[in-house]
Structures are given as structure tokens and as C-alpha cells.
């Protein structure tokens, strides 16, 4: 168990180091910018002294290296600078925008699993049967529709043509919910506002489904091939010979073992799910960090872009770290390795 803790500790160290290096990458990429962000925020009448003052204020003076050190020093103290466009601290903006995105991503992950576990089993069952070709083409088709197109299709079908579900924002503005955790599904419950909870949940369905629909074919694919791998394993034959029902063999022996490679894939592809929130949140006017990123980019808001980009990277790193930890819990062989 000690080696396991040490392994996780080492991994945590790697996460920090990676995050630090990523912040350098982000910094350099944004400093090759051809246009001067100051030009957009100052009136034409600004004097050279004004420009110099603002430049210093925003930490945009000095060489890239100096700028980075200043930024890093502030960031380590919890100060990510102020947004040029919103004129508020980046950290404040992130604090309000992160919970909605996490809520959206978690709900869509649940939806994706609800779609892809039966889907993977179905495709496995169809292997070498008549329906295989159809299912196979359907899978490639589903892999070809990116999440933001699902978003648009869902809005047209379930929002406009058959107006069943809302597709603007997180909750109907007529509800007033105090912010406790920032997660609307939790805050409404804490305050006993059942109707608000239901409304917030309805608002989540379409954006989360759009993300889930583009994520699940990726999971289905790996789940099917892992199931095919386990089907050839001896323990599966042994279970069958012991007279266990097909269903029991599938659930207790095959799915359990197929879960490991699937989990790895979900970890690796989590960035894909997170990246999808950029356009999904824009399309559904959802006030999360994805939408914040798009706004920041449209306004050339450097401090904000930097902050949001790093949060995206951190999320991916944290998820990968958790998947590593979970993997070791699920697979005893990895604890000593």
C-alpha cells in the first residue's frame, strides 16, 4: 500500500510540473499575437504615458520572460490578473463559470455511459450477425457528427420544431436561486425549490445530450472491442461451463473486465468532452467556462484566455490523475507495478 501511495504522490508531482510547463506554453502562444491588446481598450486620445501606465498595470511590459515571472508569482498567490474586457478579476469569473461547466460535463458523462454501455453490448452481440454491417456503418456515422452539430440539430428538432425542451441558459430567469455551491442541481435541492430543480434539469438535457451523443460512439467502439477480447478469455469459458447464464457471464465477468480499457479511454478522451463545451455552451447560451473562453477569444482578452485555458488543462490533468487512481483501485495488479 505504501508503494501505491508513493506512486500516486509521484503522479501528483507530475501533474504540477505539467501544469507549470503548460502555463509557459500558453503564455508563449499568446505573446506571438500580432495585434496589441492595448490598442483595443484605450481611446484614440490616450497619451504615451497612459499607454505605459496601463501596460505596466496589466503586466504587459518587459520581456516575455519577465512578464511570465510576474504572472506566475501572482498566479501562485491566487491572482490571475483582471479581465481586460469584463474589468473583473479572472479568478472571480472562473469561480462563477466553472460549476456550470462541471455540472454539464458530469451530466453528459452519465448520459454517455447510459447510451454507450447498452450500445457497446448491442454491437458486441451483433458481431458476426446480419445486423453487423448496418450497426457498423451507423457507428461510423455517429462518430462523424461533432457535438456542436448535435447541439444545432437538437435545438432545431426538440427546441424549435417540437418545442419540448428549453435551450437558452441554465434556468428560467423567473426562478431566483441563491448560490451556495454553484451547482444548480444541488443549490435548488438545498433550498427546497423542486420546480427550479426540474427547470434547471430540463435546461441541462439538450446541451448534455449533444455532448454525450458525440462522446458515446467513442466509448462504444472500445467497449465492443474489449468485450470481444474478454469473450476469448478462459475465465469466461469457465463461468459458462459452471452453468452461469449468458446474462450473468456478461455482467459479472465480461463487463467488469472490459471496464478497465474503457475507463482508460474515457480518461484519455476527457479533453475531447471538455473541449466540446466551448461551442455547446456558446450555442446554448450556457454561462460556463467554455462560453467564457469564446467570449475572451472574441475580445482578445489575454489575461482571461490565459486563465481559462489553464483551467481547461488542469481539469484534464486532474481527470487523468483520478482515472489513474481509480484504475489502481479497480485493478489490483497495478498497485505494485
Amino acid at each position: 500500500m505504501a508503494s501505491y501511495a508513493a506512486l500516486l504522490g509521484r503522479k501528483l508531482g507530475t501533474v504540477f510540473l505539467t501544469a507549470l510547463l503548460l502555463s509557459i506554453v500558453v503564455f508563449i502562444v499568446l505573446r506571438i499575437i500580432p495585434s496589441d491588446p492595448l490598442a483595443m481598450m484605450l481611446p484614440p486620445s490616450a497619451t504615451q504615458a497612459d499607454i505605459d501606465f496601463i501596460r505596466k498595470e496589466l503586466g504587459l511590459d518587459g520581456s516575455i520572460f519577465q512578464q511570465y515571472l510576474v504572472w506566475l508569482g501572482n498566479a501562485l498567490q491566487g491572482d490571475l490578473g483582471a479581465s481586460i474586457y469584463f474589468r473583473t478579476p479572472v479568478l472571480e469569473l472562473l469561480k462563477t463559470a466553472l460549476p456550470p461547466t462541471l455540472e454539464l460535463v458530469l451530466v453528459s458523462l452519465v448520459m454517455a455511459l447510459a447510451i454507450s454501455i447498452p450500445g457497446g453490448v448491442l454491437l458486441y452481440k451483433l458481431e458476426r450477425r446480419k445486423g453487423e454491417m448496418v450497426a457498423d456503418f451507423a457507428l461510423v456515422f455517429l462518430l462523424s457528427v461533432p457535438s456542436f452539430l448535435w447541439g444545432i440539430i437538437l435545438i432545431i428538432v426538440l427546441g424549435v420544431v417540437y418545442p419540448i425542451l428549453p435551450f437558452m441558459g441554465r434556468i428560467d430567469p423567473s426562478f431566483s436561486v441563491d448560490t451556495i455551491t454553484g451547482f444548480l442541481l444541488i443549490d435548488t435541492l438545498l433550498q427546497g425549490q423542486w420546480r427550479a430543480w426540474f427547470d434547471a434539469f430540463q435546461h441541462l438535457i439538450l446541451p448534455a445530450l449533444a455532448l454525450a451523443l458525440s462522446f458515446s460512439p467513442i466509448i462504444v467502439r472500445v467497449l465492443r472491442s474489449s468485450l470481444l477480447d474478454t469473450a476469448a478469455a478462459q475465465y469466461v469459458n469457465v463461468a459458462r461451463l459452471r452453468g452461469q447464464s449468458e446474462w450473468r457471464v456478461l455482467v459479472h465477468h465480461m463487463l467488469k473486465n472490459a471496464a478497465l480499457p474503457t475507463l482508460t479511454l474515457i480518461g484519455v478522451q476527457f479533453g475531447f468532452l471538455f473541449g466540446g463545451t466551448l461551442l455547446i455552451e456558446l450555442i446554448f447560451s450556457f454561462p460556463g467556462i467554455g462560453n467564457l473562453m469564446v467570449q475572451a477569444i472574441k475580445n482578445f482578452d489575454l489575461p482571461l484566455i490565459q486563465g481559462v485555458a489553464l483551467v481547461f488543462c488542469l481539469m484534464v490533468l486532474v481527470v487523468n490523475f483520478c482515472v489513474d487512481g481509480l484504475y489502481a483501485v479497480l485493478d489490483p495488479r497495478l498497485r505494485t507495478a
Binding site: 510547463l21 506554453v25 500580432p34 452539430l149 472491442s225 477569444i297 490533468l317
Partner: protein
């Protein structure tokens, strides 16, 4: 991946005939061909100038609807521009970005992968470490950030796709090169005194070529999606150039009055991406029988 029937029929036949007898290659290939033809012959196929505005006929429904006009088969957008013509012209940007970005991604990713996988050592560690860093970026976030750094425009969209996606080629090809360099034919070539460069180009590269072709087709689909995303956000083409993402962004404002304005570019993007994905998926099976049992990436 799938399709047992093909392997049962794997009698000695002409190479091309065998490849195209696979249903995914056949369907995907035909769709790719159609897509390329539409893009190349756009000026002859489009019924109208894609930028010509007919302000007396805005937001027309498709021609088969009650108040549609035969002149505009798929209707018009909010400025009275022909949706079908814009759909046809939009394929040009998609094709240009797909070809250029996939080529660049392939060259960069494969070169680094072969060098890293074959030479190993410090170079391998360094490039692999960069890949680990790159993997922490959600691709969309990274490409948008690059567009801020590089500035808008189609050329920079291509550059952004290359700089983000070369890791896909790198990871897959490098793993294959590491296996290939242990093979006898590579060892034999070294014993014969061939230079490292010659071994890499003449022995290792042909071995991983099927994989590269498969990834190339896949990457073309990815590039089309990325271009659509970036032009949707307004980071890609200038306003006088037609792109599917721009059509989506324009159509979003009139979603209640004219949903068909959105459906046309949605279908265009899905068609093109599906074409390359089918082709890639089929080629993977046909070109490398060993991959039949492997799923996923």
C-alpha cells in the same frame, strides 16, 4: 474491426479491386469523390453567385415548399443569398483545409514519429514529453488559442490544425515504428551497412505506410470539423468567403424563421466527415489485416 465476409473472399485478385470491394472503402471512396467533384466544379454546379444578395427574396424556403422559388433550390438566407450555392462553394474551403492540414499534420507527425521511434534516446524522450503536454490541452481550446496568437485566416487555420493534431500521427506511428525496428528485415538492413536514414526511409517507412494512409483520411475529417468550428466562431475566413461554419453562424440568428438555413451546412459537414471516416475505417481493415481484431484508436 468487423467485416468478416471480405476476408473470406480474400482470393488472389487485383490489389485495387480488392481494396474497393470492401463496402466501407467503396461507399466512403464514392462519397469522397463526390465531395471533391463538388468542390472542384463549384462554379459550374452552383445555380447562383454564392455572395449575390437578393434582398427581395430573403429567407425563402426550399423550392419544393409552398412559397419556394425554383431559382433557389434550397431557399435563401437572411440576405437573400442562395443556400445551395453557398453549400456548394463552402465545400471548397473544407477541401482545401482538409488536404493542406492533413498533409502538414502527416509530414510533421510522421517525421518526428519515425525519428523518435527509430532513434529512441533523448530525442524520443523530448518529443514524447511534448506530446504529453499537448494531450492535456482540449484540442478545441488549443486551436482557438493558437488562432488568437497567429491571427485569423485560412492559412492560420491550417497551421493551427497541424500544430495541434500532429500528436495523433506521432503517437500511433511511433508505437508502430518501435515494433518495426525490432523486425528481422530492419536488423538485416542495418547489418548490410545501410545508413540510418536509408533504413528509416526504405525499410521502416513502407512498413508504417498503411497506417499513415488510414490516419491521413481520418485527419481530413478532423480538419473539416476544426475549420467549421473556427469559422463558426468567426476566426477562420474573411467575410466574403463562403464556409460551412459561417453559414451555421449566419443561420443561427434565424433559427425560428428558417431552420433549413442551418440544416444545409450541417448536412455538408456530416457528409464530408463521414466520407473520410468511412474511407479511413475501411482502409484500416483492407490495408492491414492484423488490425482486424483491434478496435478503437
Amino acid at each position: 474491426m468487423s467485416s468478416i465476409s471480405v476476408n473470406q473472399q480474400a482470393r488472389p485478385r487485383g490489389g485495387m479491386a480488392r481494396i474497393f470491394s470492401h463496402p466501407k472503402v467503396a461507399v466512403g471512396g464514392a462519397m469522397v469523390l463526390l465531395f471533391i467533384c463538388v468542390a472542384v466544379f463549384a462554379p459550374w454546379l452552383a445555380p447562383n453567385d454564392p455572395n449575390a444578395q437578393d434582398l427581395l427574396a430573403t429567407l425563402l424556403p426550399p423550392a419544393w415548399a409552398a412559397d419556394g422559388m425554383a431559382q433557389y433550390p434550397l431557399g435563401t438566407d437572411s440576405l437573400g443569398r442562395c443556400v445551395l450555392s453557398r453549400l456548394i462553394y463552402g465545400s471548397r474551403i473544407a477541401l482545401i483545409v482538409a488536404v493542406a492540414a492533413a498533409t502538414g499534420t502527416m509530414l510533421l507527425g510522421t517525421t518526428l514519429a519515425i525519428l523518435a521511434g527509430y532513434l529512441r534516446g533523448g530525442f524520443d524522450r523530448a518529443t514524447s514529453f511534448i506530446v504529453v503536454l499537448w494531450m492535456a490541452f482540449p484540442p478545441v481550446v488549443f486551436s482557438m488559442m493558437l488562432m488568437v496568437g497567429l491571427g485569423t485566416g485560412v492559412r492560420n487555420v491550417i497551421l493551427a490544425v497541424i500544430l495541434v493534431d500532429w500528436t495523433r500521427f506521432y503517437r500511433v506511428v511511433r508505437a508502430e515504428v518501435i515494433v518495426a525496428r525490432q523486425r528481422e528485415y530492419v536488423q538485416a538492413a542495418r547489418l548490410l551497412g545501410f545508413s540510418h536514414l536509408r533504413v528509416m526511409l526504405r525499410e521502416v517507412l513502407p512498413g508504417v505506410a498503411p497506417l499513415i494512409i488510414t490516419l491521413f483520411s481520418l485527419q481530413m475529417g478532423v480538419a473539416i470539423i476544426v475549420e467549421a468550428i473556427l469559422s463558426f466562431v468567426g476566426l477562420s475566413v474573411p467575410s466574403n468567403v463562403v464556409a460551412w461554419g459561417v453559414m451555421l453562424a449566419d443561420g443561427r440568428d434565424q433559427i425560428y424563421q428558417a431552420g433549413w438555413n442551418l440544416l444545409a451546412p450541417v448536412c455538408g459537414i456530416v457528409f464530408a466527415v463521414l466520407a473520410f471516416n468511412l474511407l479511413s475505417d475501411g482502409l484500416r481493415v483492407v490495408l492491414d489485416p492484423r488490425l482486424r481484431k483491434r478496435g478503437g484508436e
